[in-house]
Amino acid sequence: MNISPKDKISTVQTAISVTLLTIGVSILTVPRAITEAVKTPDGWLSILIGGLIAMAGGYLVVSLSRRFPGKTFFQYNQIVVGKTVGLLFSILLIIHFILLSSYEARALSELVRIYLLGRTPREVIVILFLTTGTYLVVGGINPIVRLLEAYFPIIMLLILIGMMSGFQKFELDNLRPVLAQGIGPVFKGVRAVLISYVGYESMLILTNFMQDPKKAFKAVFAGISISMISYLLIFVVVIGMLTVEEVQLLTWPVASASMEIEVPGGIIERFEPIFLVLWILTIYTTFVLSYYFAGLGLAQLFRKDINPFLYGLLPIMYIAAMLPPDLNAVFKMGDLNGYIGIVSGIFIPLILLGIIWIRRIGNGQK
């Protein structure tokens, strides 16, 4: 299955896709994931350094993909490393996307149970979520990116409004002192934060959906930068509101911070429902993209039409989403998947590029 001309997407759409695939459940847990590793208020430095590493990864991924115009990772990796290894790489990436979408669906059901529908079974929420996703995904890449384009300003606006209103309880002293224990802890945080940057590896596929693949570097850097700025904003505001010590003790630190915001004038007593819209949107966008990529990967492996694979993925994603018995297992699943993401976003492109460099194959970047 090759990409038909109507499936081309613009540079802006690509950047938006990278951002929205990156910020999913992670915007809810990123302050805790980092401070648990760093233990000082310097986590924002880890976010910056992590962002730079992700950009380096993005550079690798794009420069690899641009050597094979019109082909996605699933199609060109076999040219480089041969059938068997290429198949393994493809399967790893497909598993990564399946796990990512299952993780997002499950985490959403946990959140909805906490804040909205306390007695609705998880199964129902996950099934509804998966089916609404399918409805969008069977339309192909274009409806997906157009929807993302529509959601993107809403998501960014909600993040901005939410974090701005957090400033009423913000204390700068909670972010000080800077680098009290040197730069060491910051690097511990980088490892934790890299998981949250997983998402740019989608450029292995997206690059060749672009109308103008020359601008792929621009798109991936813009995408990663926007996620980095969002993470920075959320981290700074949440730590400023809650302190480093408290953030480590909370299950959903960003949600708890939103519970502390008082709406001036008391028009509405509880602010979290507005945030819930934000979480659902970000989680949904991550979910549909990874779901589509998983389906696309399978379709290209078997050289068949994509739709049967998309429907076939539903039960698999449902089972994977229901697999973790409790919330700790859910978070572990997310972390594990993050590591797979790092492998497919940094190490696999490095290996492939190395082989290409030695064997001098591929074209398109002359």
Partner: protein
């Protein structure tokens, strides 16, 4: 063919109708009339040994039973009475609230017991205040006690926490005159911190959780009941890490801590003029403070810079003439001395007697000298009691109101 279409159309219409019934989002719906909205919770030690016989059998199962025994009183809103107007014929109208008490070991267990006692489902989303009795606060770790409220997603983090002198239930029993619910009357009292410095800064559950996470000592507002009125003044001192109450701060001592924290939005300071022995009252309008840690070698010390602006609110001096610069300077000096002595009194009480740091001195040391803090943080409260603190107060009396002088002196 036409008939077939017609048939399919009917089937589709039927499916849509069924769907409309099934798919409306009412899974978790509860009518508001069926909810027992809880606005306040009071936690006490059980008063007497009623029902002890039965419990003794149970307590053999768990020896720590006795220590953890709690009585929880919840204030339910009676929604019908909330809307109705006072009857004009002097008929006693229905109370807008009802207090229900239950006993148990853990708060969650007690909360679920309420479902057996109340005709409405207990609903905590509008919980506004938690009042803990002195006895409980002195004997239990508050982090353990309040864990339920922080864990339960139904509760927000802006529930106010207070410690009652005496029985906490009494606070919920005081029938307010101007408000319909005792808890709301109590909450509107906390808003008055704009007018007085004698109550500790209101403490939200979320802020308390942060302080407990930091292991720092802090103050919780004190609520006192006098017959049929409540007063919010003074504070309970909670020792960090142990998270138990170790004593009370009086109204002036609380004021002292507020001066150091720099959170006063308005207050009155009463002092006596040295020459005439008459009263002078300073009205605080603005106040700022800054805690500056100083480290010289191994020695840590603090300087607290306090600045305040305000006016002369009242003076009893016959010779008092605010149009005269000399008098204003004399008054300013008298006020300044009074404030300094109030602050030192409160500081001595917390620092030397209770040996706690409730004004965030440690935090400033951590922020500015992190490497020094690393050495002393383990035993900071103990260490702090030996640290010298210098207080510098600067007062600007800028206003004296509508009448500056008195007729007596012109006779």
């Amino acid at each position: 063919m036409g008939r077939n279409r017609y048939f399919i159309g009917i089937i589709f219409a039927f499916i849509f109708l069924i769907n409309a019934g099934i798919m409306v989002g009412c899974w978790d719906q509860t009518e508001i009339e069926d909810l027992g909205i809880i606005v306040g919770v009071a936690i006490d030690k059980p008063k007497t040994a009623e029902g002890k016989e039965e419990e003794k059998k149970e307590s053999e199962r768990n020896l720590s039973y006795e220590k953890h025994r709690l009585t929880v009183t919840q204030q339910f809103v009676v929604s019908q009475a909330m809307g109705s107007k006072e009857s004009s014929a002097g008929m006693p109208s229905q109370e807008a609230y009802s207090n229900v008490a239950s006993e148990g070991n853990t708060l969650f267990q007690i909360a679920s017991q309420f479902s057996t006692m109340s005709s409405r489902l207990p609903y905590y989303k509008h919980l506004k205040a938690i009042i803990i009795s002195e006895e409980i606060a002195k004997s239990l770790n508050l982090e353990q006690l309040l864990n339920f409220f922080l864990r339960e997603p139904e509760m927000t983090r802006d529930i106010q926490v207070m410690i009652s002198k005496g029985c906490a239930r009494d606070v919920l029993e005081v029938k307010p005159i101007k408000e319909r619910l005792p808890v709301l009357a109590l909450l509107s009292l906390t808003e008055n911190e704009k007018k007085t410095a004698r109550m500790a800064e209101k403490l939200m559950l979320g802020n308390m959780s942060k302080k407990m996470a930091n292991g720092s000592s802090f103050l919780i507002p004190r609520v006192v009941t006098y017959g049929d009125s409540v007063q919010l003044a003074g504070a309970a001192v909670i020792k960090g890490k142990e998270n138990t109450m170790i004593g009370w701060l009086g109204e002036e001592e609380t004021e002292a801590i507020n001066w150091i924290l720099g959170k006063i939005e308005g207050s009155a300071v009463e002092t006596v003029d040295k020459e005439t022995k008459e009263f002078l009252v300073y009205e605080v309008k603005e106040q700022r403070s800054q805690i500056k840690p100083k480290v010289e070698g191994e020695k840590i010390s603090f300087v607290v810079e306090i600045e305040s602006e305000g006016g002369l609110g009242e003076d009893w001096l016959i010779s008092g003439d605010a149009f005269e610069e000399a008098f204003m300077q004399r008054a300013t000096e008298a006020i300044r001395e009074e404030i300094v002595s109030i602050i030192y009194d409160g500081l001595t009480k917390t620092q030397k007697e209770f040996k706690v740091d409730v004004a965030g001195f440690g935090k400033q040391l951590y922020v500015q000298y992190p490497e020094v803090w690393e050495k002393v943080k383990e035993n900071w409260d103990e260490y702090f009691s030996t640290v010298p603190v210098e207080v510098n107060v600067e007062i600007h009396v800028r206003e004296f109101g509508m009448k500056g002088s008195k007729s007596m002196q012109h006779e």
